[in-house]
């Protein structure tokens, strides 16, 4: 899942749960931000022109089924 392009670096809606995600003003390409509500991690993709895209970060799931 990926979010739309962002013009405002300060805040955006979580593509998963619609909660507000704060993005640090000094964020760098590849940085991971996490939604405070649903815990989904997103990797920031920042282009040369400064537009930011949220891409769901891969995570290792727990497995209690063994």
């Amino acid at each position: 899942m990926s979010g739309g392009e962002l013009k405002d670096l300060s805040e955006t809606d979580c593509p998963e749960c619609s909660a507000k995600i704060r993005i640090p003003s000094d964020a760098i390409d590849g940085e991971i931000v996490t939604c405070p509500d649903c815990g989904t991690g997103f990797e920031l993709e920042i282009s040369g022109s400064g537009t930011v895209t949220l891409k769901q970060a891969e995570s290792v799931a727990e497995d209690w089924g063994e």
Binding site: P15, E16, C17, S18, K20, T34, D37, C38, G39
Partner: protein
């Protein structure tokens, strides 16, 4: 922040439109994270803050300031006749668990004073003989339930009497003009013949049923504000309804196949012991209780059908499990189409916009990734989570409450707050304990 300042800020809650701000300060243990200077704010409605972070739960914004000034506008006084003074409240049937929990809330309520607590069995005894947590909070003793005493001492009454008793007692209070929240099932079902089917008795006053509103503030907030008589929902019913209603209203689920699997703690069985509640028998059980045709099924179907405008059938099986307080409903629904997580989130958020006591818990991190009644003990929250099984188009809803709070006393006081024009959350913002 000193204690005196904090009390003053809480007192300001009823006067300002910054409710979520104050709530969050309480939740986050604001004493150590902020420095509030309260001088003159009561007069000027100004709070000076320095070096603090404020999160607004409704808008989910976080503000960080080294020094800020918050200017609060005073709310317009509402038109409720009892507003502006402490309302005198009585609890009839106050020796039970629900009655005790109503007393606990009211004894800390900013706008209410308990003037009467009745119990035939414990007449003359201090309340703490039966509710030991209330020692030093009140000098009241249990009184016999006498109509003239109730009507002269109270503006508002909670009747926490058993099913079948309320129907005999409540009509005697109706002529007095008292506002009443009845905790029993005696006025919940709108079809009088349903009492024979689900409760095994013929309703003696069917003409009164229509006068009582089924009290779920998150659904009937507007109607409750203008009601004088409320019938408080059943604990497993409200826990199930709150999870289901956004999806029923949105027409997303197969209305013939809804399965509710409930787990409930021992306090749900009431304060009167039986052999089955004896510790040796009750401890450690996962005991299926009424696998079919549990009474709460009737009110769940009634409310969902009413809200959907069409007949809805649910299948419910409760289990008695090994805790004192709490309900977890695992609800299986089958959807008409594939849903994804963002759509489910939007359905929930859209329906519960501004509802302070409904929280969503579906977290990929942390301790509580789905609703868990353990951390809700003593709180008025209903926590709702979900997963969607794409293989079977199965929506699994998870809904947790404290059966004595959002499942009974807390919801009833929330209704009282609305009926009397108080802040809806007054007396109800205890966030629960952790660890517990």
């Amino acid at each position: 922040m000193g204690r005196k300042t904090k009390v003053a800020i809480c007192g300001l809650m009823a006067e300002v439109d910054a409710f979520s701000f104050v709530t969050e300060l309480e939740h986050e243990g604001a004493e150590s994270s902020c420095n509030l200077q309260s001088s003159n704010f009561a007069k000027k409605k100004i709070i000076y803050c320095s070096r603090m972070s404020i999160r607004f739960p409704r808008t989910r914004q976080t503000l960080k300031h080294k020094s800020s000034r918050f200017l609060f506008r005073k709310r317009e006084r509402n038109q409720f006749p009892l507003a502006g003074r402490k309302v005198r409240v009585g609890v009839v049937g106050a020796s039970g668990y629900v009655g005790g929990e109503i007393l606990r809330i009211l004894l800390g309520h900013p706008d209410a004073v308990v003037t009467l607590a009745t119990s035939k069995q414990y007449e003359g005894e201090p309340l703490h003989r039966v509710h030991p947590n209330l020692r030093t909070f009140t000098d009241l003793t249990f009184a016999a339930p006498k109509i003239d005493e109730i009507t002269s001492k109270c503006d508002f009454v909670f009747t926490a009497t058993p099913h079948g008793s309320s129907i005999r007692f409540v009509p005697t209070l109706l002529g007095s003009g008292l506002r009443i929240v009845d905790m029993s099932a005696d006025f919940r079902l709108k079809n009088p013949t349903a009492y024979e089917e689900w409760y095994g008795y013929k309703h003696p006053n069917p003409e009164l049923i229509k006068d009582f509103l089924y009290g779920i503030p998150e659904i009937y907030r507007f109607e409750i504000k203008s009601s004088k008589l409320i019938s408080n929902p059943g604990c497993m019913a409200i826990t199930s309804i709150l999870a289901l209603v956004p999806f029923v209203k949105a027409g997303l689920i197969d209305e013939e196949h809804v399965v509710i699997d409930s787990k409930i703690g021992s306090s749900g069985g009431g304060a009167k012991p039986t052999l089955g509640t004896h510790h040796a028998e009750r401890y450690g059980v996962v005991r299926p209780y009424k696998p079919i045709r549990h009474r709460h099924t009737a009110e769940i179907e009634q409310e969902l059908s009413r809200l959907a405008g069409r007949e809805i059938r649910v299948s419910m099986t409760p289990h008695a499990v090994n805790f004192v307080r709490g309900i977890l409903c695992t609800i299986h629904c089958f959807t008409k189409e594939k849903l994804d997580a963002p759509r489910i989130w939007k359905t929930l958020r859209g329906f519960y916009e501004g509802a302070r006591f409904v929280r969503f818990v579906r977290d990929k991190k942390g301790l509580a990734r789905y609703p868990d009644p353990k951390i809700l003990a003593g709180s008025n929250f209903c926590d709702i989570g979900f997963e969607f099984d794409e293989r079977a188009n199965r929506l699994v809803l998870l809904s947790a409450t404290d059966n004595l709070m959002k499942g009974a006393a807390g919801n009833a006081v929330q209704c009282m707050n609305l009926m009397l024009g108080f802040e809806e959350s007054a007396g109800l913002l205890f966030p629960g304990l952790h660890p517990i």
